[in-house]
C-alpha cells in the first residue's frame, strides 16, 4: 500500500502541474466556493492517497461487523427493506385512524404518529392555552379513549408504531402498552419507537415542560420500565432531525445527537441499568438535507462513531454497538414556491438516506410549506420511497458507495469534526457527557452554535451564494393553487366533548388515587412509570398527569438567546 500511495501522490502532483493548472489558466474560473453545506472545503477530485490513512478492515470492514460503517446488518436491504413510515396525524383520532389505514393500504410498512401541540406539551384539549391548536398539527390525544379509537382495527402484533412526542413520552408509551393489553398482544410483541428525547428539545425543538434534570430522570425511568415491560420497543429516538431543522450544520447535527446519546447512556449507567439490556432499545433519528454526499457520509460516520462509543462504555453484545436510525427528509428545504419541485428535493434526500443505510424513512410531502399533507401529496411521498426501493436498483448491493475515494474521505472528515465537538462538550462536563450536555443547555452553548449556523445559512441565501431553485433563482409568476388539507374547526369542539364524556364516565376515585401515587413517587424520587401506567389505565388525562409532575418539578422557561 505504501509504495503505491507514494506513486499516486507523485502522480497527483504531476497531474496538478501538467494537467490541471494549464487547464485552469485557459478556462474561466468559477467564482463560487466549492464546499459542502457544512462548509467543508473540497478538492477537485479524490484518489486513493486521500484515504490511504484509513484501514479498510478496521475503519470500514464488512456490513454486519464492527465498526458497522457499511451497515449494521450483513445483507441490509437484500434481507429486508427499510420501514416506510410516514409521519402523519391530524384532527381527531378517527381522522388519523382513517389516514393511517389509507397509507397501510397503499403500502406503508410502519406507522408514525404526529400529535397536535397541546398533546405534545402535555395539555388537555380544553386547556385555555390549547385554543385554536387542537388537532391542527397532528392528532389530539387526551386520554386512553383516544388511543382506543386511534388503533381501532390496527393489530399491534403486526405493525410497529412510532410516536414523536417528548415531555409526555411516558404517558404515550403507557397508553400504547395498555392498548396492546386490550388487544391481547403479548408485551414482547409490541414494536415501535417513542421519541422521548428531551435533551434535543432544549437545544432546538422547544417542546419543553419540566426542567432539564427532571426531564432526564423521566427519560431514564422510561428506560428502566421499558426494558422490563416492552423489551422490543425502542425507548428513545435520539434525534438530530430537529437540531438540523433549527439551522445546524450536518456536523453539528451529528455531534450534538451523539453527545445526547452518550448523556442518556451515562444517566442509565448511573441508575444501574445494564448497558447491554438497554442498548438494543436505543434508536436514532437524523435529517437528510440537500448535500447528497455529505448526508451519506454523515450516516456512515454516525454508525462508526456509535459502535466505538458503545464499546468504550463497556457494551459487550455486538448488537449493542448497532446504531439503528430513522431518517426524515429535510422539511426546512421545502419551498412554498413551485411546490412540485419539492418532489425532486425529497427524492434526492431520500436516496441519500437509503445509500446511507437507514432502517426507517419518512419522505416529506410536496405541499408541506403550506399545510399538513393532502392525500395526494402524501401518496406521492410514499411512492417516492417505493420507486427507490423497487425500481432504482440501489437496494441490490450493500453500501454501494463504500470505497468511493470522496465518500470515504468525507465520512472520515465529518467524523473527525464531530469528535472535536464531542470532546468540547465532555470538557464542559469535566469528563462527563451527561454533565457536559446539561452544562451546554444551561449556558446556551447548543442554542448559540445552532443559531450562528442558521444565520450563516440565511446570509448565504440573502446574498445569492446559496441558490434555492424557484425562490431566489429561476422564479416564475405563479398562482399558488395546490389542494390544501383543511382541519375542520369542529375538531376542537368534538374533542372537548369527548374529553368531558370520558371524565364523567370514569372512576374518579381511582384517578385521584393514581395521581396521588404519582405525586408521591415524584416526591420520593421513585420510578414514575408504574404510577403513570395505572393513571393512564384509569383514564386520567395527559393534562392531569403532566400537571401533577409540574407541581413537583416546576415548569421550565427557556432563556431567550437570539
Amino acid at each position: 500500500m505504501g509504495e503505491l500511495t507514494e506513486k499516486i501522490r507523485e502522480k497527483r502532483k504531476e497531474w496538478e502541474k501538467e494537467c490541471l493548472e494549464p487547464w485552469l489558466s485557459k478556462t474561466e474560473k468559477e467564482s463560487r466556493k466549492f464546499e459542502t453545506l457544512s462548509g467543508i472545503e473540497l478538492k477537485e477530485v479524490y484518489d486513493p492517497s486521500d484515504i490511504a490513512h484509513l484501514d479498510f478492515l478496521g475503519d470500514l470492514g464488512y456490513p454486519g461487523e464492527f465498526p458497522f460503517t457499511r451497515g449494521i446488518y450483513p445483507t441490509m436491504y437484500r434481507g429486508r427493506l427499510w420501514t416506510m413510515r410516514l409521519f402523519s396525524g391530524f384532527g381527531t383520532a378517527e381522522d388519523t385512524n382513517k389516514r393511517w389505514k389509507m397509507l397501510l393500504e397503499e403500502g406503508e410498512t410502519g406507522l408514525s404518529t404526529a400529535f397536535d401541540f397541546p398533546t405534545l406539551m402535555g395539555l388537555d384539549s380544553d386547556d385555555p392555552l390549547a385554543e385554536g391548536e387542537v388537532g391542527k398539527c397532528g392528532v389530539a390525544v387526551d386520554t386512553l379513549r383516544d388511543f382506543e379509537i386511534l388503533f381501532d382495527g390496527i393489530p399491534l402484533d403486526k405493525i410497529s408504531t412510532s410516536f414523536t412526542i417528548n415531555p409526555p413520552a411516558g404517558i404515550i408509551l403507557a397508553m400504547y402498552t395498555a392498548i396492546g393489553d386490550l388487544q391481547g398482544v403479548p408485551r414482547d410483541m409490541l414494536r415501535g419507537t417513542i421519541q422521548n428525547d428531551m435533551l434535543k428539545e432544549f437545544h432546538a425543538q422547544n417542546t419543553i415542560v419540566l426542567p432539564p434534570e427532571a426531564s432526564i430522570k423521566l427519560v431514564t425511568d422510561i428506560f428502566e420500565w421499558g426494558i422490563k415491560n416492552v423489551p422490543k420497543f425502542n425507548l428513545i429516538s435520539i434525534s438530530g432531525y430537529h437540531i438540523r431543522e433549527a439551522g445546524s450544520t450536518a456536523v453539528q447535527e451529528l455531534a450534538f445527537t451523539i453527545a445526547d446519546g452518550m448523556a442518556y447512556v451515562e444517566s442509565a449507567i448511573e441508575r444501574g441499568i445494564d448497558i447491554d439490556r438497554l442498548a438494543p432499545q436505543l434508536s436514532f433519528f437524523f435529517n437528510s438535507h440537500n448535500d447528497f454526499f455529505e448526508e451519506i457520509a454523515k450516516f456512515r460516520a454516525a454508525r462508526r462513531m456509535w459502535a466505538k462509543i458503545m464499546k468504550d462504555y463497556g457494551a459487550k453484545d455486538p448488537r449493542s454497538w448497532w446504531m439503528k436510525f430513522h431518517v426524515q427528509t429535510a422539511g426546512c428545504t421545502l419551498t412554498a414556491q413551485q411546490p412540485l419541485n419539492n418532489i425532486v428535493r425529497v427524492s434526492l434526500q431520500a436516496l441519500a438516506a437509503v445509500l446511507g443505510g437507514c432502517q426507517s424513512l419518512h419522505t416529506n410531502s410536496f405541499d408541506e410549506a403550506w399545510a399538513l399533507p393532502s392525500e395526494e401529496a402524501v401518496r406521492v411521498a410514499l411512492r417516492t420511497q417505493q420507486i427507490i426501493a423497487y425500481e432504482s436498483g440501489v437496494t441490490n448491493v450493500v453500501d454501494p458507495l463504500g470505497g468511493s475515494y470522496y465518500v470515504e474521505w468525507l465520512t472520515d472528515k465529518i467524523e473527525k469534526l464531530a469528535w472535536k465537538y464531542i470532546e468540547r462538550i465532555r470538557e464542559m462536563g469535566n469528563g462527563s457527557m451527561l454533565r457536559g450536555v446539561l452544562k451546554g443547555i444551561e449556558n446556551g452553548f447548543f442554542v448559540r452554535e445552532i443559531s450562528e449556523a442558521s444565520a450563516k445559512y440565511q446570509r448565504d441565501f440573502e446574498e445569492g451564494k446559496r441558490i434555492v431553485v424557484g425562490v431566489n433563482r429561476f422564479r416564475i409568476n405563479e398562482k399558488l393553487g395546490i389542494p390544501i388539507l383543511k382541519i375542520d374547526p369542529e375538531v376542537e369542539r368534538r374533542q372537548i366533548e369527548r374529553l368531558k364524556k370520558v371524565k364523567a364516565e370514569r372512576d374518579s376515585k381511582a384517578v385521584k388515587e393514581n395521581l396521588e401515587w404519582l405525586k408521591s413517587s415524584a416526591e420520593n424520587g421513585e420510578n414514575l412509570m408504574p404510577a403513570i401506567f395505572e393513571a393512564v389505565k384509569s383514564y386520567a388525562t395527559i393534562g392531569e398527569i403532566m400537571g401533577t409532575l409540574k407541581q413537583v418539578y416546576g415548569t421550565y422557561r427557556k432563556p431567550i438567546i437570539i
Binding site: 391548536e133 410549506a369 431566489n472 393553487g481 422557561r557
Partner: protein
C-alpha cells in the same frame, strides 16, 4: 427619523423559532430596535408588550396552523389595552395557506410573508410601511 422599533413574537404552543430568531437578528443588523418575546407566549402577553414597548412593528411568526385563532386574538387585546392595531405595522410570517392570507389581510394584517421570502424584502417593506403610518399620525 426615530429608530424603528420591532417586536417579534412567538405565540401559542409551537416552539419552532428558527424563523423568528433569524428575522430578529437580521432586523437588528439592519439598524432596527428589536425585541424578541421568546417562545410560548399568550396573545395577552404579546398585546401587552406591544403597548408597553410602544413598537412600530409587530411581527408574528407562526407555523402551527393556529393563525386564524391567534392573530385576531392579539389584535383584539391590543384594542382592549387601549392601542390601535392600525397605527402599527402588523406582519405575519410562516406556513399560511393562500386563502388564509387574504383573510388575515382583511382583519388588519399589513403583509404575510411565506417561507423563502428574502429578509431584504421584509426590511424594505417595514421601512416603507412605517414611514407611511408615521406620516398619517
Amino acid at each position: 427619523m426615530d429608530k424603528i422599533r420591532v417586536l417579534i413574537a412567538k405565540i401559542g404552543l409551537d416552539g419552532h423559532d428558527r424563523g423568528a430568531k433569524v428575522i430578529a437578528r437580521f432586523l437588528r443588523d439592519a439598524g432596527f430596535e428589536v425585541i424578541y418575546t421568546g417562545i410560548h407566549r399568550t396573545p395577552q402577553e404579546v398585546a401587552r408588550a406591544v403597548i408597553d414597548e410602544d413598537v412600530d412593528v409587530l411581527g408574528i411568526s407562526i407555523l402551527s396552523g393556529a393563525h386564524n385563532t391567534i392573530v385576531p386574538r392579539v389584535l383584539d387585546y391590543i384594542r382592549q389595552y387601549g392601542g390601535n392595531p392600525q397605527d402599527l405595522v402588523v406582519l405575519v410570517g410562516g406556513t399560511i395557506p393562500a386563502e388564509d392570507i387574504a383573510k388575515l389581510r382583511e382583519i388588519g394584517v399589513d403583509e404575510v410573508f411565506i417561507p423563502g421570502t428574502p429578509i431584504s424584502e421584509i426590511i424594505r417593506f417595514i421601512k416603507e410601511k412605517v414611514a407611511e403610518k408615521r406620516g398619517k399620525l
